[in-house]
Amino acid sequence: MRRTSLWIGAILVGINVAVALLTLVWLPYDPTAMAGGRLQPPSWAHWAGTDRLGRDYFTQVMIGARIALTVGIGAAALGGLIGTTLGVLSAFAQRGIDDALAATLDILIAFPTLLLAMLVVAASDGASLGTAILAIGIAMSAILARLVRILTKRVLAQDYITAARCSGLGWGRIVLVHVLPNIAPTVLVAIALQFGLAVIAEASLSYLGLGAPPPNASWGQLLQSAQSTVYNAPIGVIAPGLALMALVLGINFLADGLRDLLDPERGAA
């Protein structure tokens, strides 16, 4: 059962990764050039039809996969790094500092990602892929930091940590060889789930014009431009919508399968 979810997840995510990599070297059509009539329905020549300007829509959905993964990976890496560092530090911090950090994280978590994104955009030269990654990464790091803090505290209370101290290990080494490996399974699963949320968040930001500008359009932006013509050309909404769903579902399945695979009570002995 869990194996199945791992496989489904791996296939869905794998297809997305393959398509994203493919777009780097090959595209069916030039994404900026007119390739046919306007708002054409799907055909053999144009699998997802064409948009208002007659550009091949499937090509744009393919590029969207690359944008989505870039944002997901970027935000997950940023959020994972900051979140883990803050979480571990706060688990070690003195009571007062730890409390202050915990309160800050709670506020940051309650703070809407959208508002954060607007602030980041306002503070930089306008919306770009980078601002989207930064905003989503910061929001993600707060959630991960809170999780890492609790997990780290739990590990630090174990007798094998005291044993390690009595074996002459410094705190840095203890974090590296005892804490991180023991919190890794749970944190990795959380990061995978956050990855899925990041892809959705990016779509929402793009939809509102806070994402990457064209021609590197993300699925959110495709959805937004297609909404005015949804009755004439529903494929404009269906194609990026399905792609988004497949990727997020795939990531969630993968996270679920990963959780089981990394369970220390069940992993390979």
């Binding site: 174990q158 007798d159 094998y160 005291t162 044993a163 390690a164 101290r165 009595c166 074996s167 002459g168 290990l169 080494r173 060889v177 005892h178 490996p181 023991n182 220390p264 009570e265 002995a269």
Partner: protein, 250 residues
């Protein structure tokens, strides 16, 4: 000269006093039992002896000098001098490390002489576990076997003193007996400090004992004398209650 001693030690966690005027001395070859109710401060005494915490007042002396836990070289030497064994064998081994890694970790970190792999094999043999245990994870072992691994890890540094905090109270009766046999054997070369609820274990392993009540030593001396004629009313009550439940686990 004593191996380890506490002199007029006061200690508390965040202002809350836990130990009051504790003085004791561990002599070479005279294993010491610490008896006392849960929460009386037994584990705290062991933490001070291990140098995991510093007394608020008074001093801990080990191997002939005052223990300064802020001095790294002093602590490295202390780690080779005294090693702990904990109560719960399920949390005292890192589930993500193979036994080989668990046993060689102190060897590497304390920069001990000899080959780490050979030393791991030596201590594994000393606690009566087969050599192929090295390539397994802790989950492959029973509670008693895990406790043997924890004891093996403590032996890597060839310490003079072994601090055992309720080392068998999480084990079932048959396993308990075998681990006590192992500790008895080890106590011929290493001086034990043994925290236990079980008066029979203290009697079997420790020629000397102290009784702790709410952070104060209320009685101390030769185990035989205390068991035969406890002086303090608290000790009398403790012995009476323990005799009703000889197999008590906390």
């Amino acid at each position: 000269m004593s191996l380890i001693s506490l002199r007029d030690v006061q200690f508390g966690y965040g202002g809350q006093p836990i130990l009051h005027d504790v003085s004791l001395a561990l002599e070479q070859g005279e294993s010491l039992g610490i008896l006392g109710e849960s929460g009386s401060g037994k584990s705290t005494i062991l933490r001070l002896m291990l140098g995991l915490a510093r007394p608020d007042q008074g001093v801990v002396e080990a191997d002939g000098s005052v223990l300064d836990i802020r001095s790294r070289p002093r602590m490295q030497a202390h780690r080779r001098f005294v090693q702990p064994v904990f109560q719960d064998p399920y949390t005292s081994l890192d589930p993500r490390m193979k036994v080989r890694r668990i046993l060689t970790e102190p060897h590497v970190a304390l920069d001990l002489p000899g080959d780490a792999g050979a030393e791991a094999a030596r201590v594994l043999d000393a606690v009566g576990l087969p050599a192929d245990s090295l390539d397994r994870y802790p989950r492959a072992f029973s509670g008693g076997q895990r406790q043997r691994i924890a004891i093996a890890r403590a032996l890597i540094a060839r310490p003079r003193v072994l601090l055992a905090d309720e080392p068998v109270s999480a084990l079932d009766l048959a396993t308990k007996v075998r681990v006590i046999e192992l500790l008895t054997e080890l106590a011929r070369d290493i001086t034990l400090v043994l925290v236990s609820h079980d008066i029979a274990i203290v009697a079997a392993l420790c020629p000397r004992m102290i009784v702790l009540q709410q952070g104060r030593i209320v009685e101390g001396g030769a185990t035989r004398h205390i068991l035969r004629a406890p002086q303090h009313p608290y000790t009398q009550r403790l012995l009476a209650s323990l005799q009703h439940m000889p197999e008590e686990t906390p």
